[in-house]
């Protein structure tokens, strides 16, 4: 058994490491990155590439920093809206209480993908069913015959 010393196991319960909650936009951004809403390398960072080439002056660098932060904010906003849409929340782009609650819900650790498997393209596809079969399935909803 998991070792405990208190009658009510409170020493063990208190010892359990609690997951950090999503509380602000920074932790929300981490969440969105972790679960695939913000993809790495979504937006090219012009500052990085220019610096690497050694061809940048200060004025350009400041402009690029502004452009970079704008792109970054846009990226976060887009991801936030995607998350809100998928979770049937008002798509406000605002990190509100409802969004925070949704992010703090227990969830699976696998990232979210946008693509669902093609549920209609079966090897023996239901799309080959003809109209007669649709009628048949509908007619099944009637009561069975009574003698």
């Amino acid at each position: 058994e998991k070792i405990f010393h208190s009658r009510d196991h409170s020493d063990v319960l208190n010892d359990i490491h609690q997951a950090e909650l999503i509380t602000d936009s920074d932790t929300a951004e981490v969440f969105l990155s972790k679960y695939g809403f913000i993809k790495a390398g979504d937006v090219d960072d012009p500052q990085t590439s220019a610096e690497a080439s050694g061809e940048m002056d200060i004025g350009v660098s400041l402009d690029l920093q502004e452009a970079g932060s704008t792109s970054h904010d846009l990226q976060f906003l887009t991801a936030l809206k995607d998350f809100q849409r998928l979770n049937a929340l008002p798509v406000t782009g605002v990190f509100d209480d409802a969004t925070k609650a949704a992010m703090n819900k227990p969830r699976c650790g696998v990232t979210d993908q946008n693509e669902e498997p093609d549920s209609t393209a079966e090897p023996d596809s239901t799309s080959t069913l003809d109209h007669t079969d649709a009628e048949t399935r509908t007619s099944r909803n009637t009561q069975p015959p009574v003698r």
Binding site: I16, H17, Q18, E20, K105, C108, D112, P117, R140, V146
Partner: protein, 415 residues
């Protein structure tokens, strides 16, 4: 070790139109010894995982077996509990709350043991069964699905009563692995009488499919089998051979209400009131009896049979022949036997089973007779189709397009 495992497993996986999936239908799983939960007994954990795998078996051609003996690299799906840094995994758990589990595509499943996992139908905590079914879905190749009711939703929703895999989740897994196919030994509608609270006697029926020693109850209105099926024949039908039966008939007219099962050269009469076979008939003859004694002119083994209330004849099918048996006179009709192709001619020339049927089934849902052979069936046209004669066979169709998701499970998971 992980690279070696990956190299071994690559040969078993296939890439098919952009969707990866296991390339075999029997998958081995194991709850690894160093990954037991501290919250539930080992037996409870294994029972829940066994049930979770079975739920996917019930809707797909996949079967799962717990394997505690093979080398670890031969195990397809390994499950384990851990906290924080766990089981050599690169993805750390975050403690109680938020992330409760994760799974590796075509690989392992890890559960965060800081979460309060519980057995099914317990009020508090996180249902381990529901989480396990979800994570197994990932291992099999399903992504997260943002659809209300889907088991593959990323967020955990408290279990409301008994959750099951709905129609769309079934189609999702079947898009990767195909639908369940295969023939049946017997199909029938079982008539039962019930009394309403007002004292009125009503007649209801249930549809059963049998394959060898297993059977399913099919819910016609819901286009699926009963949750938890198949069941072993000896569990639900007391006194019948454990390997199943060849045929079933229900002789139902003004004078007679009798159910018979046939296997080999023998037959039994079934006692619906007491849910078991009769031990002897009205003359004191013990069951099982020889078919030739109870139905003069007919001998086993049979392919199948059904009773037609419209003409009060039993149709026995044997090879390419049909034997019409008059129950009122207790003898064969004068024209018997005849060829199947004569009694039930094809509507489309050449589109005919010819003989050696698996099952003949009168369906009260469809008010039609169906002749089953292999993975297909032919529907006998009804009198309502005015342009056709009353007993032609409509063109062959696949069983899985009419009756959905009748799937085998591994025998180790049978009740």
């Amino acid at each position: 070790k992980k690279r070696h495992l990956e190299a071994l497993l690559k040969s078993r996986r296939r890439r098919d139109a952009g969707h990866m999936a296991f390339s075999k239908t029997l998958l081995k799983w194991r709850l690894i010894g160093e990954g037991y939960s501290s919250q539930l007994s080992i037996d409870e954990q294994k029972y829940i995982f066994r049930l979770a795998f079975r739920m996917w078996s019930e809707v797909s051609p996949l079967q799962f077996v717990e394997d505690v003996h093979s080398p670890l690299e031969d195990i397809d799906i390994r499950l384990g509990f851990g906290t924080g840094r766990h089981l050599g995994c690169s993805q750390r758990f975050d403690g109680a709350g938020r992330e409760f589990a994760h799974a590796w595509f075509l690989g392992d499943i890890h559960f965060d043991d800081d979460e309060h996992f519980t057995v099914p139908n317990t009020g508090n905590g996180i249902s381990l069964l529901k989480v396990a079914v979800h994570e197994i879905g990932h291992v099999l190749g399903l992504p997260h699905i943002y659809r209300p009711g889907s088991i593959m939703q990323p967020s955990y929703l408290p279990q409301d009563g008994g959750f099951e895999l709905d129609w769309m989740d079934r189609k999702s897994i079947q898009s990767l692995y195909g639908v369940c196919t295969g023939g049946f030994s017997t199909v029938f509608d079982w008539i039962r009488k019930e009394q309403t609270p007002y004292g009125e006697v009503v007649v209801r029926f249930n549809t059963y499919f049998m394959r060898g020693g297993l059977y399913w109850l099919y819910e016609n209105r819901k286009n699926r089998t009963r949750f938890g099926d198949p069941v072993a024949v000896q569990v639900g039908w007391h006194g019948l051979p454990s390997g199943g039966v060849d045929a079933y008939i229900h002789v139902w007219n003004r004078k007679t209400d009798a159910v018979y099962f046939f296997k080999g050269v023998q037959y039994w009469r079934y006692d619906s009131e007491n849910d078991q076979v009769f031990t002897e008939d009205s003359d004191g003859h013990s069951y099982p009896r020889l078919i030739s004694e109870g139905f003069p002119g007919v001998s086993g083994p049979l392919d199948t049979a059904y009773y037609d209330r419209r003409d009060a004849h039993i149709y026995f099918f044997k090879g390419s022949q049909v034997f019409r048996f008059d129950v009122r006179r207790n003898r064969l009709a004068s024209s018997s036997p005849r060829l199947l192709s004569e009694v039930f001619p094809a509507f489309v020339p050449g589109n005919h089973p010819i003989g050696h049927l698996d099952a003949a089934y009168f369906s009260y849902t469809h008010n039609s007779v169906f002749l089953l052979k292999g993975s297909g069936f032919w529907r006998v046209s009804s009198r309502r189709r005015a342009s056709l004669s009353t007993s032609v066979l409509l063109p062959r169709r696949e069983l899985d397009q009419q009756w959905f998701d009748i799937c085998d499970v591994h025998h180790s998971s049978l009740r």
